[in-house]
Every structure is written in C-alpha cells, then in structure tokens.
Symmetry: C2
Subunit: 342 residues, 2 copies
C-alpha cells in the first residue's frame, strides 16, 4: 500500500517482475478490495499471488517509532513478518522509509558481527553500475562500521553486479593516506590488511562516484545521503538546462527532433527506475525499499533486487564473510593494532 501510485504500481510491477523471473510468487499485503480488481487485469499473476488482507497502513508521515508501536497489523509489518516466518524470501515496499527500516530491524534483527545495518543502492556510472552504502541509515559511523559496510557492499556487488572480486573504495576528501577523519583512516588501515573477497582500492573522491572508479563506494550515512541526493540534483539541473537549450531556437528544436531517439537512449541510461531499490544490508533477511515515486517499471527493478539477493543467499554470504573476517581479525597482527588505536 506504500508509494504514490500504490497499489496499482505494486501489482503491475509484480506482473513485470514475474515476466523477468518466472519462478517468483507473491504475497501481497493490503486492502483486498483495492487489490483484487487490479489483479484481475493480470492473468499471469492469477496462480502465483496470494492477497493477505489488512485495513491498516503505515502512513508516509508516521514517525518510525509510532509505526513500530502502533503498526503491528499494518500491511508493511505483516509483509516483514512473512520474511521472519520463512513464508517469504524477502520484502519489498515503497512505503515510509524510516518505518520500513525500524520494523525490518526490529523484526528481522541485525546479523551477528554487524553493529549497524546500512542502506545500499546501485548507481549509474561511466563504467556501468556501482553500489554505494551507507545512504542514510547511520549519520555517524566509526571505523568498524565502515569496515562492515565494505564487507556487506562487496557481497552485494558480487550478487547484484556478478563480480567475483569487486573493488571497494572509501569515500574521502583526497586520495592521499594522511587525508580524512579518524574513521576513514582507521577503516583503510584495516581493509588494506584484511583477507576478504574484495580488492580494496583505497580512498576515492566525490568525482570517482560517477566515474565508477570502484564497484563499491563505502561512506558514512551522512555523506552518502548527501552525495546521492547531490547526484540526483545535479542530474536534474543538467536535464533542465538541456531542455532549455533545445527550446532556445527553431533550429535547436529541429535538432532535438532529429536527435530524439538518441536523447531517449540517454534518458534510459540515467533513468532512476533502472536503478531503483535501497537495500537494508546487515539484517537476517532481505528487505528492499522502493522509491515512493516509482511506477511499475521501477518497482519491478526493486523486486528484481530482492529476487537476486534471495537466489544468491546474500545474507549467508555476508554471514560467511563476516565470520571469516572476525576469525582472521583475531590473529595477532601489528598493523591491525595500529589501525584500531586512535
């Protein structure tokens, strides 16, 4: 029931996702009287969807703490519970972000070895796609948080981008070793030494995000959130300027008409619907947040993320990587000692 165009885009998105992943089945939580007529339009969904009715919805304006306490019978919470109970492999919602995070964390619990879950997403880059975390779950992060984000982000990139050994960069104000705050310097020292299924690139700068210098971009939730939204704002600015430029003269209008198919291809490359889905990494289960303004195409992308995470047992991968990291971490190692000492 969450999102600007729900439940339509959820049902249509499910139909689209089903075309791409022919084995998935859906539990839809929400108002059956609204959902049933929508489902009737999709013959392919008939035998693979079960609707679980509830009148209660988390509103986009609800505070997470209120949603957590008063929303036990809400469609969002019941969907998360289905993951806890093993009925569903993962949950996808376009509803209230804070509520989804709070409820997912409460019901699914944080994984062993992970201090704090992080929000992770895919971004379009010059090289293709990169993944970035944390995008806003934690406004302050220490060195351990950043190291755990690197491990989780690399596991996510292996699953979603299909890279056996993704490169990981730590976002900083410069590439030199002496740059940055204690958290990034400490995390870099640990990642430089750790035996993990990733290649640690070192520090990267803001320009490296869109360049796609690394497959994984690790940062604290404050910086990550600002950087992601700055990208979004800059892309909008550019689109707006481009529109104005094309409207400037009769010739440029004509030029636009000729270049129209290519401009559509450009729009497709940066279309946020193809990169939709914020994943809450670090929980004992798959929970994906779709942007609230998405249509069915965007929602299907978010469902696809959840499907891939389940199919590839991402939670198991992270658990194994963390266990391996914690084990090797226990060996006495002077570099390790130096990194932890602030």
């Amino acid at each position: 029931m969450g999102g600007d165009a729900a439940p339509n885009m959820v049902v249509d998105g499910a139909a689209l996702a089903r075309e791409r992943h022919p084995n998935i089945q859906f539990l839809l939580f929400g108002d059956e009287t609204e959902i049933a007529p929508l489902l009737a339009r999709h013959r392919a969904l008939r035998d693979v969807v079960e609707v679980r009715h509830t009148d209660i919805q988390v509103k986009s304006t609800d505070r997470p703490s209120i949603a957590l306490r008063q929303g036990r019978q809400s469609s969002m919470r019941l969907a998360i519970n289905a993951v806890v109970d093993g009925e569903a492999g993962g949950v996808v919602s376009a509803g209230n972000t804070g509520a989804l995070m709070a409820m997912s964390k409460f019901a699914l619990k944080t994984m062993n070895g992970i201090d704090r879950p992080a929000i992770c997403s895919c971004l379009p880059t010059l090289r293709g796609e990169s993944v970035m975390l944390d995008l806003g779950a934690n406004v302050e992060c220490d060195q351990d948080n950043l190291v755990q984000f690197a491990i989780m982000g690399a596991a996510f990139a292996r699953t979603i981008l299909g890279l056996p050994r993704p490169t990981v960069g730590l976002l900083n104000v410069g590439e030199e070793e002496m740059k940055g705050n204690e958290a990034v310097k400490g995390a870099a020292a640990v990642l430089n030494q750790a035996d993990l299924p990733l290649r640690f690139h070192g520090f990267i700068e803001g320009t490296d995000i869109a360049k796609g210098t690394t497959d994984v971009i690790v940062t604290d939730g404050f910086t990550g959130n600002v950087a992601l939204k700055t990208m979004e704002g800059t892309a909008n600015l550019f689109s707006q300027f481009l529109r104005t430029a094309f409207r400037q003269s009769t010739l440029s209008r004509l030029g636009y008409l000729l270049a129209k198919p290519s401009m559509k291809a450009l729009r497709d490359r940066i279309d946020p619907r193809h990169h939709n889905g914020g994943v809450l990494l670090g929980l004992n289960g798959v929970s994906v947040k779709s942007h609230g303004g998405m249509d069915d195409v965007g929602f299907a992308t978010a469902i696809g993320l959840a499907v891939d995470m389940v199919a590839d047992d991402l939670v198991g991968r992270i658990t194994a990587d963390m266990a391996h990291f914690t084990d090797s971490d226990k060996k006495p190692d002077e570099t390790q000692d130096r990194a932890v000492a602030r």
Copy 2:
C-alpha cells in the same frame, strides 16, 4: 607560478581581469625571465604590473608543512606577505591548495571570533548561483564552526551575489528538525535564534544544492568536499553520455549541428571557469585559490572574486557580523542554552 598553464594563464588572466576592473594593479611573483616576455604581449598591463622576481616555487606535490617551513622565499609566500604588509589587497594563486591554505593561515592569521577558516566557492544552480562552504578545510566540524561558516558565507553572498539578506541552509540528511548529527542540530538551534544579516532557511538536502534552494549552503568540510566533487563528477558523466548520444546516429549528429549554438549556451552555463575561485574565509585578508587546471578566463574569474572582496571590505563585514553575533550571544537566552547543551 602555480597551475598547469602558469605563468601564461596568470598573465593573460590578469589582462582579462584588468579589462573588467579597470582600476586594479598587479604584483606578479615568480620567475621574471618567464614572465617578462608574456607581459610584453599585453600593452594594457605595462603600467599596472610590477614583477617581483623569485626562483623558488612551491611544487604541487609539496606537503603543506614542508612548504610552510622551506618556502619562505617562494612566489606563493611572497605574494601572501604582500597582503600582510598592505602592499596588495588580496592574493590569487592557482598553486598547491594545501600550501596556500597553510601559508595564508600562518601569515594572515585567523580572524577574532573565528575558530577555523573555511573554503567557500560559487556554484551554478537552477536559480543562478549559490555559495557553499566548507569545501574541505576542516574534515570535522562542531556546531560553533557551522554557525561561523553561516555568518561568513552570508557575508560572502552579500558581497559576491549582491544580496542584502541571503538565505542560508544547513546541509543535512533530511529537512525535519530531529534529523542529523549533533553539530547540525545544535547549529540550527543557534541560527534559528540569532540576530544576523541573513535568513536562516533551516535544513536542506543534497538535491537542494543544484536547485539553488538557498543562497548559502553550509556544511562541514568533509561533506562539502564530497558534495562538490560529486556534482563535478555527475556533470562530467552527463556530458559524456550526451556526447555519446549525439554520436549515436547520422540523424543525431545532424541534430547536434543544428542545436550547436544552444549546446554552447548550455556548456557556458555550467562552465567551471565562470565559477572558479575557492576563497579562504575567516582570515585577516583576502586569499583566493584558483583551480590548477584553469585557463586565463578561469583565472580572471578568481581575480574578480578577490577584487570584489577587497572593494566591499568583506573581511570588515565578517568582523562586524561576528562582533554583533558574539555580543547578542552573551545575553542570557534559554534557547541558546539548550542549543549548546549536547
């Protein structure tokens, strides 16, 4: 002598700036044998330029601390000294950023009432131009730093953007009061109450930077540096995608030819040369850093910033605003108390 195309672009940039500001005079510090033939090409500079020869240059790879200790006779340091001695109104350099900051801070000294200087620049936005600080001088900032940045940034916007009462926004991960870390929450509480020549807008998000929601964008140097470089990277990504799109087919190539003048206008709007110049605010003097990759047009923009700051006595403005703020700050005020308590 600093910058990729120095000293050519410095001399050519000075000539360009002189056309725009017919009263300025220049002291050029550097290798006279290189500078003299360049000057000979600019008749207009003949009587308004004095060359101060030195063989010594700060290299772009020098550590700031080394430059500070060993570069006392360098062209950069001698130029800064000219400001200290009152011979020059301000210094403009395209050289080593860290060295310019360290030397400027050492020689010009931080202003009374300012704990830490900040780097401030103009950015293109949908509404025109905004100013943003700190762009990297301070990787960690507390609430007092952010409040001082707001005061300095507003004074800068009054001078450079000509706005009598600029709007100021604090960069955060959300607009709601409860969002963010202690530093931004504390700074917001102070700025909401303070009697200052600015309109405090409250929290803004990454998307608001390019939108131009506020005239002044205040943030810590870590976030600001990442956000600025993220904008730069995203603009590059977009330009690259646009180029690829125009080259995609014969029709789109033809479309480009027709739209070429409008595309040039678009490039002009986001041309970094028109927004060049990072200003070190909070010192007892004017010190402007030009991007090292700039040509004469960009260097002239940076000179223009210095000229405006001197003509408008920006240092005096900030001193007066800080004195006023500190005075009103001393009055007992329960809101103030609440803001300072963490």
